[in-house]
């Protein structure tokens, strides 16, 4: 009996180590393979290097950029995304709460939002350029529009998906509307709100690139179009890699926050290792 109980704490950390590392390695297999094949294919000469630079060459370009202008571009892009996302997502949360909680507000506002939503957001670009010019404001407004709708839609859905049975517990205690929102509705809607925020953030990055491709003097989108104009695919690919990394890191931050806030969720975690 004693030997059994002692064996358990020893076995658990081992089991975790055994399963965690191979999982990460599994994810690396495909990218590493692709990079190796590309390197070989370009070196052998099957692909012309002026169209598809070798991965090692892109890495060199990235280090070159990192010693020079890259940080300026990253900080410009990051600033725009953060500002645009914060503005768009905040407005979306306010309207989602309003429409989600009040049927009256829904009757007044929802048809308008449904109409606006059916406009492909990039169609706003010419109008924004006409109204706001080509400086920062138009870019930030475009990013905010992009981030708005996913956050708004998921927010309304999250509030309307709340289990009526939980709300009834609050009514049973005679909770005021404010208290009902704070104690039941907000925490219950949190999973849906996070889904909206994460897809809003990814759209913010997408609209950032659109805005910077059209008119910018710095930023990662500018780097993309600069690379195209100077026939430097290595610069384009380097910018793409940086965008991917930034997108991943920013989503990772939100995901970590989500995991922290929603540890209580009793959800399916996937099967197998």
């Amino acid at each position: 009996m004693t030997s059994k109980t002692q064996a358990v704490p020893l076995a658990t950390p081992l089991a975790i180590n055994r399963s965690a590392w191979p999982r990460r390695l599994k994810g690396l297999v495909l990218p590493v393979l692709i990079l190796l094949v590309l390197e070989v294919v370009v070196r052998v000469g099957w692909l012309p290097s002026y169209q598809m630079p070798a991965p090692s060459e892109i890495a060199l370009t990235l280090t070159d950029l990192a010693e020079g202008a890259l940080w300026k571009h990253i900080s410009a892009s990051l600033g725009r995304v953060v500002l645009g996302f914060v503005i768009g997502a905040s407005l979306a949360l306010v309207f989602a709460a309003w429409v989600g909680l009040s049927r009256e507000a829904e009757a007044y506002l929802e048809p308008t939002f449904a109409g606006l939503r059916s406009i492909p957001s990039l169609a706003w670009v010419p109008l924004l350029l006409l109204w706001l010019g080509i400086d920062e404001t138009s870019k930030i407004v475009l990013i905010a529009i992009g981030a708005f709708f996913p956050v708004y839609l998921n927010g309304v859905a999250a509030i309307r998906d709340i289990d009526r049975k939980l709300v009834e517990v609050g009514q049973m205690y005679g909770f005021s509307r404010r208290r009902l929102v704070r104690r039941i509705l907000l925490p219950a809607a949190l999973p849906g709100l996070f889904t909206g925020l994460r897809s809003g953030l990814s759209l913010a990055w997408m609209f950032l690139v659109a805005a910077e491709l059209i008119a910018a003097t710095k930023g990662l989108g500018y780097l993309l179009s600069d690379g195209r104009e100077t026939s430097r695919p290595d610069i384009v690919l380097a910018a793409i890699i940086v965008l991917a990394l930034l997108g991943k890191v920013s989503d990772g931050l939100l995901a970590a926050l989500e995991k922290r806030c929603l540890a209580w969720r009793d959800t399916f975690q996937g099967a197998g290792q």
């Binding site: 049975k165 939980l166 009834e168 517990v169 009514q171 049973m172 205690y173 005679g174 208290r179 104690r183 039941i184 925490p187 219950a188 949190l190 929603l262 540890a263 209580w264 969720r265 009793d266």
Partner: protein, 238 residues
């Protein structure tokens, strides 16, 4: 009625759209009394309970509730999944709940050591224990229960029934219980009220004059069960 009843309800009529669900239902609950409502699905037992709880306010009739709290235990535990067991029990007082009282309740419902557990870590029976503790937190004089043990297995149900009786005795609480389970009704209550089909009223009242603690194998319970089955049959429930 010599002693002033703790709770007094008269529903002249309660309708949903065009259907009259309850008609001329009178019910009085004495202090520390346990009463069960037995009847077919959809006969309005739960509606009656919701009226007493104040969750349903659109009805014709009168309701006199005690000055103190009336608490409700639902069919499902209905715990807030984002709160720990402790926070769920003290839910009605936000974050400044009475910790000592919550700790005592946790012990009384037999969940010592689970104060910090989240609802996802609890079994159905444990979650329902937390729900009962949450009901007791406000120190109610009346506890309303809507088929509280219908979702747990038979053995857990028996344990929870005993727990409920023990807590009601200890805290001097009157119970008003809706159930489909004849054995449960007879085991728990002092009076069993058989309701008939829509529009329903109380068709028959059976007094269960057996002292607590009762023995589930008591032949007198079996006799009463036969009586109530007859009553249910006459009410076209079964």
């Amino acid at each position: 009625m010599s002693v002033r009843a703790l709770l007094d309800i008269h529903v002249a009529r309660k309708r949903f759209a065009d259907t009259t669900v309850l008609k001329d239902v009178r019910l009085a609950l004495q202090p520390r009394e346990a009463v069960s409502l037995l009847g077919p699905s959809g006969c309005g037992k739960s509606t009656l309970l919701r009226i007493v709880a104040g969750l349903e306010q659109d009805f014709q009739g009168e309701l006199r509730r005690p000055d103190g709290e009336v608490a409700f235990v639902f069919q499902e535990p209905r715990l807030m999944p984002w709160l720990t067991v402790e926070q769920n029990i003290g839910f009605s007082d936000d974050n400044h709940y009475d910790r000592a009282w919550v700790t005592q309740l946790i012990e009384e419902v037999g969940l010592k050591g689970f104060a910090q557990a989240l609802p996802k870590a609890l079994s159905g029976g444990m979650a329902q224990r937390v729900a009962i503790a949450r009901g007791l937190y406000s120190r109610p004089q009346v506890l309303l229960l809507d088929e509280p043990f219908s979702a747990v297995d038979a053995f857990t149900r028996m344990k929870l029934q005993d727990l409920l009786l023990q807590l009601a005795e200890h805290h001097a609480i009157a119970l008003l219980l809706v159930t489909h389970d004849v054995d449960e009704a007879l085991y728990l209550s002092d009076r069993v009220l058989v309701m008939d089909n829509r529009p329903s009223s109380i068709r028959q009242a059976l007094a269960v004059e057996l002292p607590h603690p009762r023995d589930r194998r008591d032949p007198r319970l079996a006799q009463l069960k036969a009586l109530s089955l007859t009553a249910l049959q006459q009410a076209h429930v079964i």
